[in-house]
């Protein structure tokens, strides 16, 4: 669930200017482990206050701290499946959304400030010329402390100076107004937002957005989870569910929405219902040709492993289930950099510097950059519990316990892990570099090494038949059919080893696809 949600919520080790954001991923891991309901999670993210280093939930909105309007656009897509990105700059060319609608909605975030510039100025004033503090460290301490969500005294969003429509004056202040999908929506009780002061705007918006009465909130997450599990959403694309009549089956979508509401947004419970459905348990169909008509879900569709599923499977086959004890938690490093509240003093900055120096976060002399995910080996100090093994240059931990996202040439990214710059950026398309990694790269080497757990387990068995059976269970989660067993045994009798068979099975299409 973490990997899926990390793609949706754009979980990233650092925000655009290299600002660390580890507390956000730590927060999400903890909340998912506690099975926090979706409406509660979203509420916590949208109403978060305070510094990112103290409150990980603030990470979602702070991702777009430099571009708050893009942030609004993104959260609408993520939580409501409303596609207003076009309306940010002009009336939507293909839908009903007007630029005015977008601004009126964005005004709910117009009384929120993201970056504490006055604190940064204080740091510059107090220690800017202090040569005993490395500049990079001072910058990092500033970054960690500056990003925060704080309500301001007034709502300050105005229409753009070059606003070109007649429905508002360029440069004039925007009044917050909620959007409706249907004329009847406006009559719903949740449209009575009780925001009396600017500080209550965001809370009022979040209450409207996360309510079961919201016309799209439950539908959006139900539709997305259906796609996660069945391979195709009921309404595609998932980032545009404004028009419910476009669903393959509007009735199914309405039913899933009801299930989501009766599960009270408990995503585990919702998925339990899916897993127990005859639809999910049916034989998977080939990817349908949608040009020939809607897909009516006689079963799931054949779908490729996500990058994380493929990687995690190969890691478990290489080092075994003990990998579950390897946990990457780096938010504490950020907390060590928190300055005391109130006016900034040179003494306080020095104290933080001494603390992080003592904690070993400055090795390499670049202000704790080693924990930012630049080098895989440099991550070691971030692991709680067991440290991961390194083989053939690969750090063998689950995808969720590696840098978010992985570096661009890593197996995970080559297989389509998203860049996390945009929501829903993961892909499952194939490519030649993927096949090269699987056949000839470090991953192929690691999983077909005599040391690999699955290979060693098979090699310890006395008969070739048993070895083949064991490797089939490890890689394909099933027993070989008699003809498959016979072919594999024959090849092994002619000289191939369990390691060779591990390589072969990892390279079958069946390994990569969920039938």
């Amino acid at each position: 669930m973490f990997n899926w949600m990390a793609d949706l919520l754009r979980v990233k080790d650092t925000f655009n200017k290299g600002v660390p954001a580890f507390t956000f991923e730590d927060w999400l891991k903890a909340r998912l482990a506690a099975n926090a309901p979706w409406d509660k999670l979203v509420m916590e993210m949208l109403t978060a206050d305070g510094r990112l280093c103290d409150n990980g939930a603030a990470g979602f909105l702070l991702f777009d701290a430099e571009m708050p309007l893009d942030g609004v656009s993104n959260l609408l897509t993520t939580f409501l499946g409303t596609n207003m990105a076009c309306a940010q700059c002009h009336d939507h060319p293909l839908a009903e959304w007007k630029q005015r609608d977008f601004y009126q909605l964005a005004a709910f975030f117009g009384a929120t400030d993201q970056k504490d510039e006055s604190m940064l100025a204080q740091i510059r004033r107090t220690v800017g010329k202090d040569d005993s503090l490395p500049k990079a460290v001072v910058k990092r301490i500033g970054d960690v402390n500056a990003y925060r969500l704080e309500d301001t005294a007034a709502q300050k969003l105005t229409f753009p100076k070059d606003y070109k429509y007649k429905d508002a004056k360029p440069g004039s202040p925007v009044s917050p107004v909620l959007i409706t999908w249907d004329k009847a929506d406006a009559g719903l009780p949740i449209y009575q937002v009780g925001a009396k002061t600017p500080a209550q705007l965001r809370d009022g918006f979040a209450a409207w957005l996360t309510s079961p009465q919201n016309p799209r909130f439950a539908t959006n997450i139900a539709n997305r989870l259906w796609k996660k599990n069945l391979g195709l959403a009921v309404l595609e694309p998932v980032n545009d569910v404004d028009d419910l009549t476009q669903a393959f089956s509007p009735e199914l979508l309405a039913h899933l929405t009801t299930v989501m509401k009766s599960a009270r947004f408990d995503l585990r419970e919702f998925q339990r219902v899916i897993y127990n459905s005859r639809t999910y348990q049916a034989v998977a169909n080939p990817t349908p040709d949608l040009a020939k008509g809607p897909y009516l879900f006689s079963g799931p569709i054949v779908r490729r492993f996500t990058a994380e599923q493929a990687w995690d499977s190969l890691v478990v086959a290489s080092v075994g289930a003990s990998v579950d004890n390897v946990l990457l938690r780096r938010g504490d490093d950020m907390k060590l950099m928190a300055l005391p509240k109130g006016p900034i003093t040179a003494v306080a900055v020095h104290r933080v510097y001494d603390t992080i120096k003592e904690a070993g976060l400055l090795k390499g002399g670049n202000g704790g950059k080693k924990t930012a995910g630049g080098s895989m080996a440099g991550l070691a100090s971030g692991y709680d519990g067991e440290k991961p093994q390194t083989r053939n240059g690969l750090l063998l931990a689950r995808a969720s316990e590696l840098p978010q996202p992985s570096p661009e040439n890593h197996f995970l990214r080559v297989f389509g892990q998203g860049d996390r710059l945009l929501a829903d950026s993961a892909t499952s398309d194939g490519s030649v570099p993927q096949v090269l990694q699987m056949m000839n790269g470090a991953v192929g080497r690691t999983v077909s090494d005599a040391k690999a757990t699955a290979v060693a387990a098979a090699a310890g068995l006395s008969s070739r038949e048993a070895q083949v059976d064991s490797l089939y269970l490890s890689f394909l989660s099933r027993h070989p059919r008699p003809d498959e067993s016979a072919k594999a045994v024959k090849a092994m009798a002619a000289g191939l080893t369990p390691a060779d068979l591990a390589w072969v099975l990892a390279n079958t299409r069946e390994f990569l696809f969920l039938p």
């Binding site: 694309p237 476009q246 054949v302 661009e408 030649v432 000839n440 000289g495 390279n507 079958t508 696809f513």
Partner: protein, 434 residues
Amino acid sequence: MSRNLPSDQLRDPLARRSFIERCAKVSFGLSVLPFFNQLAAAADAAPGSAPNAGLPGFGKAKRVIFIQLAGGMSHIDTFDPKEGGSKGPGATISTKAGFQLTEYLPETAKVAGRIAVIRNMTAKVGVHASASYLMRTGFEQRGTVQHPMLGAWAQHFLGASSKTLPSTVCVGRPSNHGNGWFPAAYSPLPILSPNDGLQNIKGLADADTQSRRLDLLAQLNGSFAGAPADENVKAYNEFYESTFQLMKSKDLAAFDLAAESAATKARFGTSKFGQGCLLARRLVEHGVRFVEVSHGGWDMHATLDTRMKDVGAEFDRGYAALIQDLEAKGLLDSTLVVVATEFGRKPDFSGGGRGHHPLVFSTVLAGGGVKRGYVHGASDAKGYAPDGEGVSPGSLHATIAHAAGLPVQTDIITPAGRPMQVGNKAKPVTALFA
């Protein structure tokens, strides 16, 4: 906004459905057949019917080499020398083409008669990451959409350029999601180090074991790969087949600089950039359509007086050798070589360097039907602003796209349902073409 897709058509439920289905095809990978993606292209207008199809220079460039000078090349100290207060530390030199360069570019001066300098590039973004995104894609960076680079646009409209090699390669830099909204298979293949070439191309086991592994793989894979007629499984079957072919392909030589003589390698210079230019030449010779070569070190705030000599020389040798080689092999007329950078640098030279300056800067085109020995536009006397209207990054992209035979000012619909145009609606600068 201007668009060819009438909104009435999209409000019509049936039309909307069919376009969503088209989008769906791309997003589910139905159209992802390795190297031979015709489906997506077929959904759009044929390039031949585009508004720019009849204009000078259309489709002359069969290949594009896109050199990206990272950090911001000072136009005044390279391709647009100034006298007076803006003058930098390097002397101005004359070329036979009639325009002037600085002494940092002696080799480029020798090929000046084959290149066209655009001296009135103009943009508004002065921050490295977003300016470099703009120059690489032709679009301003947004938080809601990832724009493709030109190689992916070309693959969308023209299909794959080679049966065994990728259509787009980037040398000396990661691919940075250069496929944008197009299928991942359009993503450029990154070659981080030109001398190391293509990674993971050698099998792990000895030849005999490898062949027995592959034999068993073919036997065991059959039951699953053949049974459900799933398009994505079939696509993977083809990717495996393509990989087998690539591993034994003669085209692999394209990635191997060892095949070049010591004298040739020396002519390009031993720098990573010089060798990258040589690799780019080999790749386009073997059928790669679009190669990006990147060269860092141009962000000279306080070090222009000391570092320009070295950084400039690396670029100068590699670039001039590339132009000479392409000409000698008869490929220059059909290969467009672009020199781009994220912005220029300020006219006031202080503290040993210059600050960022997007208002005016220079880019350089050569080959692919572009005029030879030509200067397009000018900056003012100080090198502060364009003299008259300038050329935007979008126009530059539209110009390259035009040369490559892509339809500009023609909508495609992204998987998210947004209409987009290569070059972001800008017109190509046809005055650049012979």
